[in-house]
Symmetry: C2
Subunit: 416 residues, 2 copies
Amino acid sequence: MSKYLKIIGKEAKKAIKSKVDSKTKNKVLNSFLLLLTKNQNKILQENKKDIKFAKKNKLKANLIDRLVLNSKKLVSIKKSVEDIIKLEDPVDKILENWKRPNGLNIKKVSTPIGVIAVIYESRPNVTSDISSLCFKSGNAVILRGGSEAINTNKILSLLFRRALIANNVNPNFVQFINDRNRKVVDFLLAKMTKEIDVIIPRGGKSLVKKVQTISKLPIIGHLEGICHTYIDKDADLKMATKVLHNAKLRNTSICGATETVLFHKKIIKKFCDIVLKNLQDSNCKIIGDKLTRKFFKGKIYPAGNKDWSTEYLSATISAKSVNNCDEAIEHINKYGTSHTECIITKNKKTAQKFIKNINSSIVMHNTSTQFADGGEFGFGGEVGISTNNLPPRGPVGLNQLTSYKYEVRGKGHIRK
Amino acid sequence: MSKYLKIIGKEAKKAIKSKVDSKTKNKVLNSFLLLLTKNQNKILQENKKDIKFAKKNKLKANLIDRLVLNSKKLVSIKKSVEDIIKLEDPVDKILENWKRPNGLNIKKVSTPIGVIAVIYESRPNVTSDISSLCFKSGNAVILRGGSEAINTNKILSLLFRRALIANNVNPNFVQFINDRNRKVVDFLLAKMTKEIDVIIPRGGKSLVKKVQTISKLPIIGHLEGICHTYIDKDADLKMATKVLHNAKLRNTSICGATETVLFHKKIIKKFCDIVLKNLQDSNCKIIGDKLTRKFFKGKIYPAGNKDWSTEYLSATISAKSVNNCDEAIEHINKYGTSHTECIITKNKKTAQKFIKNINSSIVMHNTSTQFADGGEFGFGGEVGISTNNLPPRGPVGLNQLTSYKYEVRGKGHIRK
């Protein structure tokens, strides 16, 4: 196994030596689209193998749901590739350009990062999305998908490689690790520092935790998304009700879903019952502190300290009262995970205070936290959301998969 | 010790909770300047203690040189602070601003990184430079200077803290670890992941290697600077001679000094003797491959394979012939350390090829590699030069000590 992985790493490093121009990049993506259409039956057949195997192994229904491909899901996979084709090539862009007093010209120019290894769980669309994003940003990618989806991932990555070959591009820009062995991940993380430049873990908490513990490589990603919506004393009740419902319940399993709602003490009496009932009517479980329990007339469970640091990823929300915006900020910076937070208020000054003092990668005003997504940001999808303090932060899409270098041009300049 | 360090870390995290406005930042830096002038004698006294101790411990003469402060060096320390005052506040700048088709407004806004720990060796100017850069970029800094300079570093950091207090700013934006114990570094690197956001090692190879091996934190820095100057077949002989002399010999102990010169085979006969003699006349030792040994008439030592990956940091250069620009690029990407490389040529096309295909953080054309420096780039000095593939890369000055967040503003937007 170790020999096989080392070869994959070396081939990836070799691939990025050749610079692919923007036109060819899009030609490859178009060929991939064609191949996805031509091979639809084959793809669905391979996917059926995975489903069969998953059912045999009694995988949970929601996990099987994620795994299933059908013609509708394939349309959405192709739509993502089409979106990426439309985006400008992010490499070799002049980001800054200045002249020094001595006449030296300095340009900051975007470059690929290098070799990116992505470790992900069951969703097969990730194979297509990430291959397309990494390739268009000039990076080579090494894919390690969830073993439940191995056949689907294999065929999708194979088609991408065929698209590369058809356009005379080194197919090793995209490589898929065809090995179910769990030790693959450990080896990638600890023994491939020369071959891999960055690791992107995309999956549940245990996967990310493992990556963070073992990795000797820079990591782009996030462990949890404990996102907050704070309803200020100057909030519009109707807007708060509507936005929170979407932020919590539109899709409870994504990292941008709100997990805790904070109410300003001054409006909790008026707001809390209406806002929370609206969630409960959609089968959301409510867990609250003393004040919310006092004012919410529906069924409500008492919140323990642990609730403020729990990512439910389900139709459950914790609710808490705060004395003011400062207290909301303090609570969020303490219990949050630097992912996404929102304030609902009509007061611009309060909104500004919240936005500036929250440490998270994404801070919102009067918006559902579920917009925390590379596609929604216009980034052509995302390989994930980073809660690192150093760049890239937030949704990591096409432009965020680049780094930069400095080009310095002189006329025989020497330093004094 | 561990308790003391944990307190320092927690105090740093507390300090960055308060946002300091641009005006106050500059007030603090101006107070610091005043205090440096007022306390000049005191500073020189403290420095003398370090020198005395260093001599007693038989520190090498060049290390003592680095350690010495005098009124001239103090002027240059103050000049750096003045330069930083003149630079725009890098925090809270709108880096990007766009509207989504659904009307959501998204801004990418610069933020401080957080708490930065800097581990550095003897030069006392680092204490002042780094404190000023980190503070102006909104970060809290934890300083761990070389034990040889402990008294000098202590007084300099103390004066910075007085400047903070005098302007009602939390003094813990700058903290100095007053403990010579070598285990301090190990503890910082491995046990302070909650309190420190990034580590900057600034010093020799063994220090950086240690940091890279132990650290659980993101690192900004570089291990070595094996920088190259490639003299192309279309180079101007006079320019090549002059630029290489500066690139190698202006200051042999900085990371941007050229360590290897590559000659295009077509000009080696004509160029090599003149270019290398010019170095040898300034007491540079020449180590060469077969062809350079053939054409250079002065004293030349045979180069072994090891020479291509040696950072001499002294008046020694290795010289090699290459068949063409492609071979130069290949050699550099193989043996270089992603720091700084230069091509000397009149041919713009060849220069472009070199610049685009070299993987280093800084790539130059007709310029001395010694310009690889934050001050020379106009960055208001630097905390170091990063050879990471991920940002920040290259010289890390004021702007590079920031990260960013996304501010998303809506009007009750919900996601479909």
